[in-house]
C-alpha cells in the first residue's frame, strides 16, 4: 500500500506533476536542438536546483532525461542531424522518410513507440531493482570498492576513444576527487598548501565546465553546419493496425534496450544501434528497404533508447553505479541531497525509489502527449542557428556556476574545467569517466582503505577478493572487462566465429 502511495505521489502532488511536465517538454526541445545535449541540460539543472528539495529536483531532472532522449529523434528525422547520440540510428531511416513527405508519420510513430519502450523500461526497473538491491545489501567494503572500480572501468572502456584514455581519465578523476582533507587520516592531499583546496573540488563546478562550457567551445567548430530541411505535410495519424503490427518488434527491442541500459557504461546510443540492427535482421518485408525509409527503422531505435533509460536507472539506484554520463550526474544529485548512492539507498530511502518510478511513468505519458501535439513547432526549433544558441548557453553556464555558492571563484574553476574538457574532446578522451571518478573517488578511496584495515594483513586482504561469492563474481567481472579489451580476446572471438 505504501508503495502504491509513493508511486502515485508524482501524479497527485501538483508541484511534482508540473515539474515532470515542464521537464519533459523542456527535455524534448533540448534533445531536438542539435548541439544541446541532455547531459549538458541535466548538468545545468543540477547547479540550478542546488537549493531545492530532493524530490522536485529529481522529478525535473528525470523529465529532462526522458524528454531529451526522445527529443533527439525530432532533429534526426527532420534535418538529418541527430539531436543526441542515442538518436543517430533513428536518422538512418527517419530522414529518408521525411524526404518522401512522411515526416509527420515518422514523428508520430517514433512518439508512440518511444512511449511503449519507455514504459517497458520502467516496468523492468520496478521489478528488477528491488531484487538486485536485496543481493546488494550484503556487500562489504571490499565489494563496494570492486563495484565502483568496475563501473569506472566499464564506462572508461565502452565510451568513445581508446580504453587506455578512458582509464586515464577515470584515474585523473579519482585523483581530483581526493583533493582536500583526507576523510580517514585527517591530513591534506594534493592541496599544495592552499586553504581553498582543503574543501576539495566541487564536482558540480567540474560537471558544468566539462559538459557545459567545453561543449560550447567544441560546437563552435560546427557553427555553420545546417541540416537539410524538409516540409511538413498535413496531419496524418498512423492506422491502428500499425500499432499491432509493430508491437512485437518494439517489445523485443525494448527488452534489449533495458538490458543494455543496465550495463554500466553502455547507454541509449548502443541500445539504439543494436535495436536498429535487430530490426534490420528480423524484418522480412519492410514497407521500404532499410536505409530508404522503413518504418521499422525508426521504431526500433526509438523504442530501444527510451527503454534503456529504465535500464540505466537500475545500477544507479541499486548499486550506485551509473550507466552513462547522465546517470553519473544523477549520482552527484543524490550526493548533494545527502544520500549515499549504493546498495543501502533502497533500504534507507525506498520512498525515493518509488517516487522516481512514478515520475518516470509520468514523464513517458507527457512525452506521448507533447510528442503527438507539438509537431509543427519542431521544424523551427531544430533550425535555430548556433550563433544564437551558444552565447545563451554560455550565459546560463556562467550563472549556474556562480549560483552554487554565490562565488566568482567557482566560475573560474568552471572555465578551467571547460578548457580541459575541450582539449579532452579534441584528443578523443571521453569526459564521462573523469566526472565519474571525481564523484566516486572518495568512496573508492575510503572503501579500499577500510577493507584493508578490516583485513589487517596484506595476505588476508588479497584473499578476501576470492573468499566470498560476491567478491569472486565482482573480481572475475573486473578481470574479464580488462581481458575483453586485449587483442588476445578479439583474436579468440574471431576463432570462435569460424
Amino acid at each position: 500500500m505504501d508503495i502504491l502511495q509513493q508511486f502515485l505521489t508524482p501524479f497527485i502532488n501538483a508541484e511534482l506533476l508540473l515539474l515532470v511536465a515542464v521537464g519533459t517538454l523542456a527535455g524534448i526541445f533540448v534533445g531536438a536542438i542539435p548541439g544541446l545535449s541532455v547531459t549538458m541540460a541535466v548538468a545545468l539543472l543540477l547547479s540550478l536546483t542546488y537549493s531545492w528539495d530532493m524530490l522536485p529536483a529529481l522529478a525535473l531532472m528525470l523529465g529532462i532525461y526522458y524528454g531529451g532522449v526522445f527529443g533527439g529523434s525530432r532533429a534526426a528525422i527532420l534535418v538529418n542531424m541527430p539531436g543526441s547520440p542515442s538518436s543517430v540510428a533513428t536518422s538512418f531511416d527517419g530522414f529518408p522518410l521525411s524526404q518522401q513527405g512522411e515526416a509527420r508519420m515518422a514523428l508520430t510513430l517514433t512518439t508512440i513507440f518511444s512511449f511503449i519502450g519507455g514504459l517497458v523500461g520502467v516496468a523492468v526497473l520496478a521489478t528488477a531493482a528491488p531484487l538486485v538491491s536485496t543481493i546488494a545489501i550484503q556487500f562489504g567494503q571490499r565489494d563496494y570498492f570492486l563495484l565502483a572500480m568496475l563501473g569506472l572501468l566499464l564506462i572508461g572502456s565502452l565510451s568513445q576513444g581508446s580504453m587506455a584514455k578512458g582509464v586515464f581519465a577515470a584515474g585523473a578523476g579519482i585523483i581530483l576527487g581526493l583533493v582536500g582533507m583526507d576523510s580517514i587520516g585527517g591530513g591534506s592531499r594534493f592541496t599544495f598548501g592552499s586553504l581553498q583546496l582543503m574543501n576539495g573540488i566541487d564536482f558540480v563546478v567540474a560537471i558544468l565546465g566539462l559538459f557545459g562550457m567545453s561543449e560550447i567551445l567544441y560546437q563552435l567548430k560546427t557553427l555553420n553546419e545546417k541540416g537539410q530541411t524538409v516540409t511538413l505535410k498535413k496531419m496524418v495519424f498512423p492506422p491502428l493496425r500499425f500499432l499491432f503490427k509493430f508491437l512485437p518488434l518494439s517489445m523485443r527491442v525494448s527488452i534489449m534496450g533495458v538490458l543494455i541500459g543496465a550495463l554500466p557504461g553502455a547507454g541509449g546510443e548502443i541500445a539504439a544501434l543494436l535495436a536498429y540492427d535487430h530490426a534490420k535482421r528480423t524484418t522480412k518485408n519492410p514497407n521500404r528497404p532499410f536505409g530508404k525509409g522503413a518504418y521499422e527503422g525508426v521504431i526500433a531505435p526509438e523504442a530501444g533508447n527510451n527503454s534503456a533509460i529504465g535500464g540505466a536507472l537500475i545500477p544507479l539506484l541499486t548499486l550506485g553505479i551509473p550507466g552513462d554520463a547522465v546517470t553519473a550526474i544523477f549520482i552527484g544529485a543524490l550526493f548533494i541531497h545527502g544520500l549515499q548512492p549504493g546498495p543501502m539507498l533502497m533500504e534507507q530511502s525506498g520512498d525515493l525509489f518509488w517516487v522516481m518510478v512514478g515520475s518516470s511513468v509520468l514523464a513517458n505519458i507527457f512525452l506521448l502527449i507533447f510528442g503527438l501535439l507539438v509537431v509543427g513547432i519542431f521544424i523551427r526549433v531544430v533550425t535555430i542557428p548556433k550563433q544564437i544558441l551558444l552565447p545563451i548557453i554560455a550565459v546560463i553556464t556562467v550563472i549556474g556556476a556562480y549560483a552554487l555558492n554565490n562565488s566568482m571563484t567557482d566560475v573560474y574553476w568552471m572555465l578551467g574545467f571547460g578548457i580541459v574538457g575541450f582539449f579532452m574532446k579534441v584528443h578523443n578522451f571521453s569526459v564521462a569517466p573523469l566526472v565519474l571518478g571525481l564523484i566516486l573517488g572518495p568512496l573508492i578511496d575510503t572503501s579500499f582503505r577500510r577493507a584493508y584495515m578490516a583485513a589487517q594483513e596484506p595476505s588476508t586482504f588479497l584473499l578476501g577478493f576470492v573468499n566470498s561469492p560476491i567478491s569472486i563474481l565482482l573480481t572475475l567481472a573486473f578481470i574479464f572487462t580488462i581481458f575483453s579489451q586485449t587483442k588476445m580476446y578479439s583474436r579468440m572471438k574471431e576463432k570462435m566465429k569460424k
Partner: protein, 161 residues
Amino acid sequence: MYSFKSSLPGILMVIVSLLVLSQAVVMENQSIIDPASGSFFPALIALIMLGAGIVTIFQDRSSTQKKAAETAEQENESNEADALETFTKKDYKLILIYFCLVIGFVILLPILTFFPAAFLFLLTSMFYLKGVSWLLNVTVSLATIVVIYFLFSQLFNIVFP
C-alpha cells in the same frame, strides 16, 4: 616530427601521472607503503594512469603508421582519430577568441552586475559569430536576459551578481 606530434597526448599523460605520483610520494604524514594510509591509493592510481599513458603512446604510434599506409591507398577514409586534424588553425582561433569573450564576461559580471554584462556579452558574441542581423541580435539578447533573470530568480531562487 610527425610521430612526436601524434604521440603528444600519450607523453602528456605520462607527465601528468608522474606529477601525481611525485605528489603522492611527498605527501606529509603518510606512508606510501602502507595501503591503509592516505597516499598509497593515489600512488596506485597514478601508476595505473602511467601505464595507460605508455599504452597510448604505443597505440598512437602504431595507428599513425597504419594510417600513413592507408592514406597512401585511399584519401577520403575518415575515422574517429581524424577528429584532431579536422580542427584547423582557423577553428582554434575562433574558439580562443570566443573563450576570451567568455572570460571578459566573467570579469565584467561582478563590476557591471548581471543585466549590462550579460547584454553586452550576448551582443558581442552574436556579432562576433556572424550570421545574425542587428535587429534579431538585440531582440534575442534583451529577451534572453529578461527570461533568464525571471526564470532563474523565481524558479531557481538564484541571487544574481
